[in-house]
């Protein structure tokens, strides 16, 4: 029997996954069949491995990652001291009702199904998606791909299943883009990962509609550690979208994902994230793509929720003429710190990368851009262009920019530009003159600020983003 805890009074008219903050603020009380308990040690890892009936190599991989996690200090010499408020001993690392996702919504247990229905996932699936995976706490509750797409040879499943059913592909790429020891949180993920998507697109296949994953945290004091691995074989194309929500608890929740993308020769991957965790979630995610010759990886990363987000999607440009792009939108409201950015590592001739970041700080919110651009010796014809714009709404809003650019050699062109501004008083005055209220004028102006980026989102997302900005801007004036 499940009880609904609901703090939401009005229902939103057009709920699209993950964008509206208040839309995700509800939870159902659940009983879990599998629970690794509270705290983290070797036994936690043994438990996860045995529940998933994993092969020996992956069990050893997890155990060694756990050692790395314990050995590494928190990166507080450059990152926010807020990280020290994560109590790793009070977190539950694995909660699920079973390891096998259902193929139809009818088979999904009622309480979980209700959650996703409220978030509008089945509806969207019918409307415009080629496949959906819905993760509830540690495991996927539902995973399905449209028949036409799977007939093309596209594999789309939960990473737990991927590991079991396609070990030959999985093992070849797993942990190769982001090594376990990359940082403390990638090590943590490598030790206790569960769920996430595994996608393989065969050569030449262009997946016409996006695949989507939806991540939901339901339990208190829970840590979600999904692991996503996407491989696009030569000349293939894929758009992948992920959304996420959690109910607001008074205690901290941890989300620490690792996402690895591999674009083989000439492939194109577009990865869209709309992060809308509740404001008690620490969102510490490592995302990186490996771009082979003439391939293209584009991250569209939109961060609206969470207490602290630290996420710097990266592209390692390994093949000649590979292209990397990061488009980042961050909105930081009271009590939030969006520490986002991009990493571009050029490792072949004539590789190009672009970073465009726009952040909005509202109230006492803090938005930070942190980036790395690295062009090593003996390459030629590499180009990077980075633009960061920050908009500060209130007098006590805060924004920071910390890029690091290393260029070796005289055959590259790199430029970085950043600016900080507030909404132009002239613009507001002009709009007020024409009968708009100050709040409406402010919303319009902020929407104008992100408009050229928001347009790159799929239609449903950009409409919602606009509406959300309107919501967040309410009451921020004055």
């Amino acid at each position: 029997m499940s009880e609904i805890t609901d703090t939401l009074e009005t229902t939103m008219e057009n709920p699209v996954a993950g964008i509206d903050q208040s839309n995700g603020n509800f939870k159902y009380d659940m009983t879990y069949d599998f629970d690794a308990g509270t705290g983290l040690n070797e036994r936690t890892v043994d438990y996860i491995s045995s529940v998933k009936k994993e092969a020996q190599w992956i069990h050893e991989f997890r155990q060694s990652a756990l050692k790395t996690f314990f050995a590494k200090p928190l990166p507080t010499h450059w990152a926010s001291k807020d990280l020290e408020n994560i109590n790793f001993d009070k977190i539950r690392y694995y909660l699920s009702q079973g390891q096998k996702p259902k193929r139809t919504w009818d088979e999904v247990p009622d309480d979980i199904k209700r959650t996703f229905e409220r978030l509008g996932i089945p509806e969207q699936e019918r409307k415009f998606l080629a496949g959906v995976e819905a993760q509830f706490d540690s495991e996927a509750a539902y995973s399905n791909i449209k028949e036409a797409v799977s007939k093309q040879g596209v594999i789309f499943m939960n990473s737990t299943e991927g590991l079991r059913e396609h070990p030959e592909i999985f093992r070849k790429f797993f942990g190769k883009v982001i090594p376990t020891s990359d940082n403390k949180f990638s090590a943590l993920n490598s030790a206790v990962f569960s769920g996430g998507s595994f996608i393989y697109v065969p050569p030449g296949v262009k997946v016409s509609h996006p695949l989507q994953a939806y991540f939901r945290i339901n339990a208190e004091n829970f840590g979600q550690f999904e692991r996503t691995l996407i491989i696009c074989d030569e000349g293939s194309e894929l758009t992948y979208m992920e959304g996420c929500t959690a109910p607001k608890f008074s205690t901290a929740t941890l989300h620490s994902a690792v996402v690895e993308l591999v674009a083989l020769k000439g492939a194109k991957i577009q990865y869209i994230t709309v992060q809308n965790w509740s404001s008690n979630v620490f969102n510490l995610v490592t995302k990186r793509g490996l771009a082979h010759e003439e391939s293209e990886i584009k991250w569209i990363d939109c961060n609206i929720g969470s207490r602290l987000t630290m996420k710097y999607p990266g592209v390692v440009l390994k093949g000649r003429k590979a292209r990397g792009e990061v488009i980042s939108i961050a909105l930081a409201n009271d009590g939030q710190h969006q520490d986002t950015g991009a990493k571009m590592v050029h490792a072949a001739d004539e590789t190009t990368s672009t970073v465009v970041s726009k952040s909005i700080s509202v109230g006492q919110g803090r938005a930070t851009y942190r980036g790395v651009v690295h062009i090593p010796r003996h390459l030629k014809g590499c180009k990077n262009n980075t633009e960061c714009d920050a908009l500060l709404i209130n007098t006590n809003s805060r924004t920071d920019t910390y890029p690091a650019i290393t260029v070796r050699g005289d055959r590259h062109a790199v430029q970085h530009e950043a600016s900080v501004s507030k909404v132009s008083a002239e613009q507001i005055f002009y709009m007020q003159q024409r009968g708009l209220t100050e709040g409406q004028a402010m919303s319009l102006s902020v929407n104008g600020f992100v408009n050229d980026l928001a347009r790159q989102f799929p239609m449903e997302y950009s409409v919602e983003l606009k509406r959300l900005i309107d919501l967040e801007m309410e009451g921020s004036v004055g």
Binding site: N183, P403, T406, H412, Q415
Partner: protein, 440 residues
């Protein structure tokens, strides 16, 4: 390049040649009024760890280059002070010439200035004539850029330095030139210049740092500028130490209401150099213009760290650092603009341009912003690019050899900065120094 650094290096206490025995010896030769302060500074120096790889303020630096071994503090000068011969190409005679940290010779100030109360003296003299001013301003600003240990070393071992005081409302038209030179292998020098421009005064000061020989020396210097309300300081530091030397310099600039400071740092010498520059805009209407030009060749490393702090509303800062990178040289520019919560109407700009002239050169840029007020205009930019191919082709097609063409284009690249100098004489003197640097 990892955003999340993996290991913590263990900090080892390191004093190198600057042992407590060396310090006691130094102290016995310094005036007794200074002892207590120097002793406290030495204790700080000895207690502070050397910077490590995980120090953000030393990111990308070759920290091992700043090992403190093999240096001699208080080395006697055996060169016979040839410094004056290599002086700055401007008409004004250098007022003070220091060799190995001590005053070697001086030229009197014109009567017109001394009669109006302008003082250009050594710190030791100032300790007698202007003790209150010295107490208030000497090493009074915070070390925020990572070199607290080296600043403490400077204060512990400084032998003497220059003190420039311009009273309220006095305008000094001729530049005041100060020469700080070093000679002998392994000599450690601690040059110091303190400029105090009282309200509504005006002064131009040139610090010229140079070696009297080809040996490697260690220079650990400080220059502190204080501009009172409505004052105007134009300051140039020409760093021309020998190409084997190690240079560490801390600059601090305090800008009061409606004051204006323009500082230009020229980096031409040393094997490895680190320069830290802190501008504090403390009252409305203040303006700090921070300029730098660097010629990096061989396998030299130039590490520049800057901080523009806007502490009051309606202040302005403008930073332009240009580096020309040849051979296997490396440069690091790490700048930060901080706008305090109440500093509305701040106008801050920060720009680092790197001209890449070799395929083995490496530039690192870390232009940063920390903004806590919303009604501001803050912009920064960083670029790294080679010489424009069309420009190079144009010069080549007119028969200009590649090396000369590069030199011309480097001057063109530097012109943005040089043209900001008001004084034509200073402008051409600096061009002259850069030209000499290429001739070396």
């Amino acid at each position: 390049m990892a955003l999340v650094s993996t290991d913590t290096a263990v900090a080892v206490p390191h004093v190198g040649s600057f042992t407590s025995a060396a310090f006691e010896k130094h102290l016995s030769g310094s005036p007794s009024w200074w002892h207590a302060r120097k002793r406290a500074a030495y204790e700080r120096f000895a207690a502070l760890p050397m910077p490590t790889r995980t120090d953000e303020s030393w990111r990308f630096s070759t920290i091992s280059g700043f090992k403190l071994d093999g240096f001699v503090p208080d080395a006697p000068d055996l060169s016979g002070a040839k410094a004056a011969q290599v002086a700055f190409a401007i008409a004004a005679e250098p007022t003070l010439i220091f060799v190995n940290g001590r005053l070697a010779s001086r030229n009197p100030l014109p009567e017109s200035l001394s009669s109006r109360g302008v003082v250009v003296s050594t710190l030791s003299e100032a300790a007698r004539t202007n003790p209150e001013l010295l107490r208030e301003h000497f090493m009074a600003q915070p070390q925020k850029l990572g070199s607290a240990k080296f600043a403490a070393l400077h204060e512990a071992f400084i032998a003497d330095g220059a003190f420039v005081h311009v009273p309220r409302g006095v305008e000094v038209t001729e530049p005041i030139v100060l020469i700080h030179s070093a000679s002998g292998a392994g000599t450690a020098v601690f040059p110091h210049t303190l400029v105090i421009a009282e309200d509504n005064s005006k002064v131009t000061v040139v610090d010229h740092f140079l070696s009297n020989d080809q040996f490697g020396q260690f220079a650990c210097g400080a220059n502190d500028l204080y501009a009172g309300h409505g004052a105007k300081i134009t300051y140039t530091a020409a760093q021309c130490w020998s190409l084997e030397s190690l240079s560490m310099q801390f600059n601090s600039t305090v800008v009061r209401r409606d004051a204006r400071v323009q500082s230009l740092n020229l980096h031409l010498g040393a094997k490895q150099a680190r320069h830290e520059s802190l501008s504090q805009l403390q009252a409305p209407g203040g303006f700090s213009e921070m300029l730098a030009l660097t010629v990096a060749s061989g396998s030299r490393e130039f590490d520049q760290r800057t901080l523009q702090i806007h502490q009051a509303p309606n202040t302005k800062s403008d930073l332009l650092y240009k580096n020309a990178l040849l051979d296997k040289s490396r440069t690091i520019f790490s700048g930060l603009i901080i706008v305090d919560p109440d500093a509305q109407k701040t106008d801050a700009y920060q720009s680092n341009r790197n001209l890449m002239l070799s395929e083995d050169a490496e530039s690192n840029s870390l232009p940063g912003l920390e903004i806590q007020a919303n009604d501001v205009r803050c912009t920064h930019g960083a670029t790294s690019a080679p010489i424009d191919a069309d420009q190079a082709f144009y010069l080549k097609s007119r028969g200009i050899p590649e090396k000369a063409a590069h030199e011309l284009l480097i001057f063109g690249f530097f012109e943005d900065v040089l043209s900001r100098l008001e004084s034509e004489e200073l402008h051409s003197a600096i061009r002259d120094l850069i030209r000499k640097r290429f001739a070396r």
